[in-house]
Amino acid sequence: MPYDPSNPLQDRITDIGPRYFREFFPPVIEKNFGKWEYHEILEPGVLVHVAEGGDEVYTVRVGGCRLMSVEHLREICEIADKYCDGYLRFTTRNNIEFLVSDKSKVKPLIDDLKGRKFAAGSYKFPIGGTGSGITNIVHTQGWAHCHTPAIDASGVVKAVMDGLFEEFGSMNMPAPVRVSLACCLNMCGAVHCSDIAILGIHRKPPMIDGEWIDKLCELPLAIAACPTAAIKPAKSAGGLKSLEVNGERCMFCGNCYTMCAAMPLADEVGSGIAILVGGKLSNRISKPKFSKVVIPFIPNEPPRWGSTVAAVKNIVDVYAKDARKYERLGDWAERIGWERFFEKTQIPFTHHLIDDYRFAYTTWRQSTQFKF
């Protein structure tokens, strides 16, 4: 029975959760579940996994741009129908994987994918993102959908990935390089543990919409939300209950705005990008680590964010040339010493990069070990 607006609760179904994933397994996956023996990356973007019994599954991974139309999805389905018996998957970093159990279909699939382009010329399905290359940038909403961003997301990602296109399609890095983007300090993603993180930051304290704030917000909640106690009660010019922000104490986290719509932070010149590097998630060799802020601010430069793209490329290039095989970016920086990181990348070291938050002391150097 179709939905009846006059009786919305009729036949209601709730709490059924997601579809059971095994409904969607290609037969070779279902058959060999838990029995995979090893894998090989045949070429960038193309993997084979071999099961204990000898079964093989070939995976062709292609870049996805995440903000995706249903028309594009339908084209993906068409390809999956043609080569993959109607199965496909998405990765944890928003790539698309076409799985083929019949080896003879791999080459035609690849050729087909390579041939597909958008009208204006960009590839629809670039192949890559495996091994020691640079895979897709996990990212967030930006100006396409969110209310707190300091930067756009999809546009910056597009520009940076154009700049890293070669690295996406090859495996020429010392180790995987994971680039991530979040458009504000809420960091909707694992930006805080990425080899390279592109982070939207504000630099102007929130404005107070004095006329509306008392109507829109619970003032005590906004006051309590501030981690540095920068906000205090005030009266607006017109005598209304309002708030006041002590700019000296503000660190531009935007948490007050999350709680109160009458305290916008975003600004044409105040908001922009910080670059963090050296984080990682895997437990391989070294423990997971946080990314560190190395460039405190790059202005917003739509549409192609030239300075940001150049900054990321520069770090990638210096790292790729200098690091050892298997050495993640953060492990490299620690081995050569952060003084050398700044020297080699020619990034200026400014006072912004010295920690002054809760654990600041634990990041300062208590030793005479340093390099001139």
Binding site: E23, H72, R89, N283, I285
Partner: protein
């Protein structure tokens, strides 16, 4: 052509990487989505943000479907006159299947559903893992939910102060490193806690993520309040012949992950033995030995020689708690709490643990305080007490260096109550 001039966005049609602008334009042109103007006006408002360098979305409002406290993010444009197609532009979070395998049939059903009820634009996928339907109006929400549950047998995901849509790596479905069934765990835990997922009753959000091995392909250690990461406690299985094949150059190290560059001949000493973080491996030219007792299962040697080394057979997972993004007190990674737990459906031991954790957090957590922050505020030992775990050196990188121990009264002989007058008999003023 579109309704709006978008010269800046058009620049993003250049370059090789797939252009989301080109894709939206393709939707504008051929799309059958019901909210006709939405993609077009999205381009328009985005272009305006590119000019102003500030977002044009207003602070989210509260919208949803009846009986659920999450799953929909309300969104309104601050220029509704100019961009009526996105004046209301709510997102719908649809709970993805574990590790995101799809049949084209199901995907097409999702597309059709979204054509009928929204903008025709999506995120595949959101950062938490959901299928995100990007942009619809309030009146479409109930019909969409009805159709989705009735026709697609599919539910919404989480948002708000509740359990968020859990996520997992692909695990046993296609990976030789999987130490437990991360997909099944993710699915069963999602279903066991539908109430917590749909009806916000927590102090703040709570996330589960399931990595089937320490490589961490779903990044659980950085972005989930509870991170379940596969491991094993017996020995790495060694195929000595395959080791020799790696050394001899017949097999490509790290499954070929470095093959676009010439790194020279594979050197097992430099590339494996010396990089092992605990130096517990030994290669004498013909035999590889691992002192498994000293191995910390970092995965490096297995990653480098997947055909020679395999994970142990007594498998399970380590459970870590407390990861989160920076708001408020700074970002955290999860802290190792249960070094090893067997992970078999129906995952009762895990559920028991979670429920103890939630009980405590719901009791003690302040509004908008993530679990990780509560543990910091109340202390790790308090956390261990409530979840009834013995302290273990594996939970820390190192013991405390400060001597500021909060002794409890019952630990100290004679308690705390003392009589100053008695003291003064021995120690006059």
């Amino acid at each position: 052509m579109g309704k709006h001039k978008t010269p800046m966005l058009d620049e993003l049609e250049n370059g090789p990487w797939p252009s989301f602008v080109s894709d939206i334009k393709q939707q504008v042109e051929k799309g059958k989505h019901i909210l006709k103007d939405a993609p077009d006006d999205l381009l328009g408002v985005l272009e305006m943000s590119y000019e102003d360098k500030v977002t044009h979305w207003k602070h989210g409002g509260i919208v949803g479907v009846f009986g659920y406290g999450g799953g929909i993010i309300g969104r309104y444009c601050d220029q509704p006159q100019q961009f009526p197609g996105v004046a209301h532009f709510h997102t719908v979070r649809v709970n993805q299947p574990s590790s995101k395998y799809y049949t084209t049939k199901f995907l097409r059903e999702l597309c059709d559903l979204w054509d009928r009820h929204g903008s025709g634009l999506t995120n595949m996928h959101g950062s938490t893992g959901d299928i995100v339907f990007l942009g619809t109006t309030t009146d479409h929400l109930e019909p969409l939910f009805y159709d989705m549950t009735h026709e697609l047998n599919q539910d919404l995901g989480g948002s708000g102060s509740n359990l968020r849509t859990p996520e997992c790596c692909l695990g046993m479905s296609r990976c030789e490193f999987a130490c437990y069934d991360s997909q099944e765990a993710c699915h069963q835990m999602t279903n066991a806690y539908q109430e917590e997922l749909h009806r916000p009753a927590f102090p703040y959000k709570f996330k589960f993520k399931f990595d089937a091995c320490p490589n961490g392909c779903v990044a659980s250690i950085a972005r989930s309040d509870m991170s379940v990461i596969g491991t094993w406690r017996d020995d790495i299985r060694i195929n000595q012949e395959a080791v020799k094949a790696y050394v001899g150059g017949e097999l490509k190290p790290n499954a070929g992950a470095h093959s676009s560059r010439d790194w020279g001949k594979f050197d097992i000493i430099a590339e494996v033995i010396n990089l092992c973080p605990t130096n517990c491996m030994c290669w004498d030219g013909s035999k590889l030995e691992i002192n498994n007792a000293e191995c910390v299962r970092c995965m490096h040697c297995l990653n480098v020689m997947p055909r020679a080394l395999r994970i142990g057979e007594d498998r399970g997972a380590s459970i870590l708690f407390g990861a989160k993004a920076p708001i408020l007190e700074g970002a955290q990674m999860s802290t190792l709490t249960v070094p090893f737990m067997k992970m078999e459906p129906p995952f009762d031991e895990l559920k028991e643990l979670i429920e103890k954790v939630w009980d405590w957090w719901m009791e003690e957590g302040k509004n908008r305080e993530r679990l990780g922050e509560l543990i910091q505020r109340k202390s790790m030992q308090e956390f261990l007490r409530v979840i009834e775990l013995e302290p273990d050196p594996r939970m820390v990188d190192e013991p405390r260096s400060n001597p500021y121990i909060f002794w409890k009264e019952e630990e100290v002989e004679g308690g705390w109550t003392r009589d100053i007058e008695v003291y003064r008999t021995k120690h006059p003023r």
